[in-house]
């Protein structure tokens, strides 16, 4: 069985200490679950279903929101988690510089 680390009781993801194949059993804290995706070493696995827009929690704090529904056992990474911080792309400021404003003319 592959081990994934759960840092905090509130977390809904765990970190895989070794690469996990889809279908493998994973031991994560007190939980046992089956991976439904391939998960590279050091990447995260969902401990339970996470609804679209819900907080993804690691270290007991939110690390972003689910950008699509995430099923228990799924690979959790940039493809299904959106950061809530530093999103200049979503909140364009009036002073935003376009690429033509900087660099070589």
């Amino acid at each position: 069985m592959i081990t994934a680390i759960v840092v905090h009781d509130r977390d809904n993801v765990a970190t895989a200490l070794e690469a996990i194949e889809a279908g493998q059993m994973v031991s994560a804290g007190h939980a046992r679950l089956t991976a439904i995706d391939t998960i590279p070493r050091g990447h995260k696995i969902a401990l339970r279903d996470i609804a679209l827009g819900a907080a993804v929690v690691k270290y007991g704090s939110p690390i972003g929101n689910a950008s699509s529904p995430i099923a228990a056992g799924a690979h959790v990474h940039t493809h299904n988690v959106a950061s809530a911080r530093g999103r200049g792309d979503l909140h364009p400021s009036q002073t935003a510089r376009t690429p033509t404003d900087v660099g070589i003319p």
Partner: protein, 391 residues
């Protein structure tokens, strides 16, 4: 009874304690950088140059930051003597840098390239002075100094999933121990507190300090957002993302562990500004490793503990940088850059406290003169934070 932890340092006239005793060669401006590097190289490894890109074409805050950073290095406790290499027509005032050293009780000299009459004469004059200074520093002996005289910079770079799970929490326990002993710890990289600021603000010793931290983070976030793009791609970096870090919040929550688990936040200071409080200080530095380390050492840190998951070589011209990894593969593949391997936390169940004790021993040994991997390899990276255009 166990003796109080101590290290063999250089007790300075201004009451500060150094872990190294360099002859610092400061170019006032990029135009003087090559001469400064040649002068320092003539007395390696005692000589330390600060080649930088600034010193002219700057207005307002950037010029001030350049001046203050160079002056901070000139009076740094790891520096025993200073040579300022000027061009002669630049904005940064050589005399002010030399005065900063002299007021801190260090001998200082100015060599002007235009004044001496060119590269050859200025280099020769600089080397002559450097050899005399190096000989005089050679006669200074180390003495036992308490751990409370230490200002420790904590830093992470090339982070991956092991950073937040192993190396940063181990360094955090080291930070708590040092503060218990009366020492100081400085954390930089404001962008890498974004998402974890609630944890640090809750540890602020006064409401005003907590509010100040939140203000600095809001400013940096607004600056990033004003560029109209997603911060992801630089925070986290492509390497961070391959290493398993998904968002800046995740990176920050892991990174902030290295500032301790319980040590109160005592102060928030500007880039390279003096660290005056015992306990934890947050410094306003960017996330770029070299600019961040440059600022924290400028603030007075005599030693840096730098965690890395992917591996990174960064050093500093005057302060030893101790590389720590929690990634067993990196400990092997980048062995020449790594000083302390704490990957046992994830692979063999080494406790955070045991790892932190090993780190503390390494810190005391390096502070007493043992060279780090970065020092052995000649890593002396130096870069001053710039936020405004060059005019």
């Amino acid at each position: 009874m166990t003796p109080a932890p101590a290290f063999l340092g250089y007790a300075r006239a201004d009451g500060k304690v150094g872990t190294r005793n360099h002859v610092l060669v400061v170019p006032t401006v990029i135009c003087a950088a090559v001469v400064a590097e040649r002068v320092a190289a003539a007395i390696a490894p005692v000589g330390a140059a600060l080649p930088h890109l600034a010193g002219c074409g700057q207005i307002g805050p950037d010029l001030t930051v350049t001046h203050e950073t160079l002056a901070a290095y000139a009076r740094h406790p790891n520096v025993g003597a200073v040579i300022v290499v000027a061009l002669g027509c630049e904005q940064v005032v050589a005399q002010q840098i030399a005065d900063a050293a002299r007021h801190a009780g260090r001998p200082s000299h100015i060599v002007s390239i235009q004044g001496e009459g060119g590269t050859v004469r200025a280099t020769a004059r600089g080397i002559e002075i450097a050899r005399e200074l190096a000989a005089s520093l050679d006669r200074v002996e180390r003495a036992w100094c308490p751990a409370s005289s230490m200002v420790l910079s904590v830093k992470c770079g090339g982070s991956d999933y092991t950073s937040g799970l192993a190396s940063n929490p181990a360094v955090g326990r080291l930070a708590d121990t040092l503060v218990d002993l009366g020492g100081a710890v400085v954390l930089g990289e404001i962008a890498e507190i974004m998402g974890a600021e609630h944890l640090l603000a809750a540890r602020a010793s006064t409401p005003a300090t907590g509010a100040q931290l939140l203000r600095v983070i809001s400013r940096v976030e607004a600056e990033a957002m004003a560029l109209g793009v997603d911060i992801r791609g630089t925070q986290p970096s492509p390497g961070n993302i391959r290493g398993g870090l998904t968002t800046i919040e995740e990176k920050s929550l892991g990174a902030t562990h290295k500032a301790g688990e319980r040590t109160p936040l005592e102060d928030v200071v500007g880039y390279a500004a003096p660290i005056t409080k015992r306990g934890l200080t947050v410094m306003d530095t960017p996330g770029l490793d070299v600019e961040s380390v440059t600022g924290m050492v400028g603030g007075g840190a005599q030693i840096v503990v730098f965690t890395t998951g992917l591996g990174t070589p960064t050093g500093n011209p005057i302060a030893p940088v101790i590389k720590v990894t929690g990634n067993a593969r990196t400990a092997q593949t980048m062995a020449d850059n790594i000083d302390v391997d704490v990957s046992g936390i994830l692979t063999t169940g080494e406790s955070f406290d045991v790892a932190a004790q090993r780190l503390f021993t390494a810190v005391l040994e390096v502070a007493s003169g043992r060279p780090t991997a970065a020092e052995r390899l000649g890593h002396r990276e130096f870069a001053i934070y710039r936020r405004n255009p060059t005019i």
